[in-house]
């Protein structure tokens, strides 16, 4: 069984003002792999997922989920209410 894993790597990477190469260097993978992860074309190992969460300064469950993350616009709208 293979379940879809959604992630917010691109969102947090942009928020931290990191390029793919900088993030890749920080977690020890090739920059292309960051692109594969962000598009959901590759599921990371637990070690890589934890390295990403440490580097981006968020918990693993904020970065990865079995359910789609709500759009940022919705989160901002809810925060404004």
């Amino acid at each position: 069984m293979s379940r879809t894993i959604y992630n917010r790597i691109a969102l947090f990477r942009t928020d931290r003002n990191l390029s793919r190469k900088a993030l890749a260097d920080a977690v020890g993978v090739n920059p292309q792999t960051i692109g594969f992860l962000e598009r959901g074309d590759y599921k990371p190992s637990l070690e890589l997922a934890m390295s990403l969460s440490v580097t981006l300064g968020v918990s693993v469950d904020m970065l990865f989920s079995f359910r789609p993350f709500p759009p940022v616009a919705d989160a901002l709208r809810n925060a404004g209410d």
């Binding site: 390029s19 793919r20 190469k21 292309q32 792999t33 594969f36 598009r39 074309d41 590759y42 890589l48």
Partner: protein, 194 residues
């Protein structure tokens, strides 16, 4: 340029240029560095390995059918192209080593490759059991008794070497195919920046 004419070497040079220049142009190899491992980006080959597999099979088929030299040439040419393509495929190495995604791609590619080769070897073992001449049957093979005609059997060292080459070509081409199809369409191995 030679000061004294060297007809043999000059002819070999011309033959090499005639044979290799179109091949290298097709593979977009401009410099010797392009041929080395660990340079440039991996490319997806989703069709070419199939063509090479067909070429190897045609070469082996030609050998078996009696066109020995033609079959050998086709099989060896397909093998050389296979070896070249492997160095440009997703199976290639990188200067800073493979990360876990690339290692997983190579592993799954070779799993398919070795799986296909193992299946072929198993089928080949059954075939050789049928085609092998039996001293107890006064040199006749079981297969020739069943089918009413002699079956091809590798009788010379060169036959076995070509079979080994065929097996290696199958392994590599299937691995390159599996790894290439494991990448998303359009090959996104080029996004370095943001």
């Amino acid at each position: 340029m030679f000061v004294r004419r060297q007809p043999l070497i000059e002819a070999m040079d011309r033959a090499a240029e005639w044979l290799w220049t179109p091949v290298l142009r097709f593979l977009k190899v401009d410099t010797l560095e392009d041929l080395q491992l660990s340079t440039g980006h991996a490319r997806s080959f989703r069709v070419l390995p199939l063509v090479l597999l067909l070429g190897c099979s045609a070469g082996l088929g030609g050998m078996i059918a009696g066109w020995r030299i033609t079959g050998l040439m086709i099989l060896n040419a397909a093998w050389i192209l296979t070896a070249l393509i492997q160095t440009r495929s997703p199976l290639m190495g990188r200067p800073n080593g493979r990360d876990e995604r690339e290692a997983a791609l190579v592993r799954s590619g070779h799993l398919w490759g070795f799986g296909a080769t193992t299946m072929l070897a198993l089928i080949g073992c059954f075939y050789f059991a049928l085609a092998s001449p039996m001293p107890d049957l006064s040199g006749k093979a079981i297969g020739s008794l069943i089918f009413g005609r002699d079956l091809w059997f590798p009788s010379q060292p060169l036959d076995w070497m070509e079979l080994a080459l065929f097996g290696m070509a199958v392994e590599i081409n299937v691995a390159v195919l599996a790894a290439s199809w494991g990448l998303p369409e359009g090959d996104t191995e080029d996004d370095h920046g943001q």
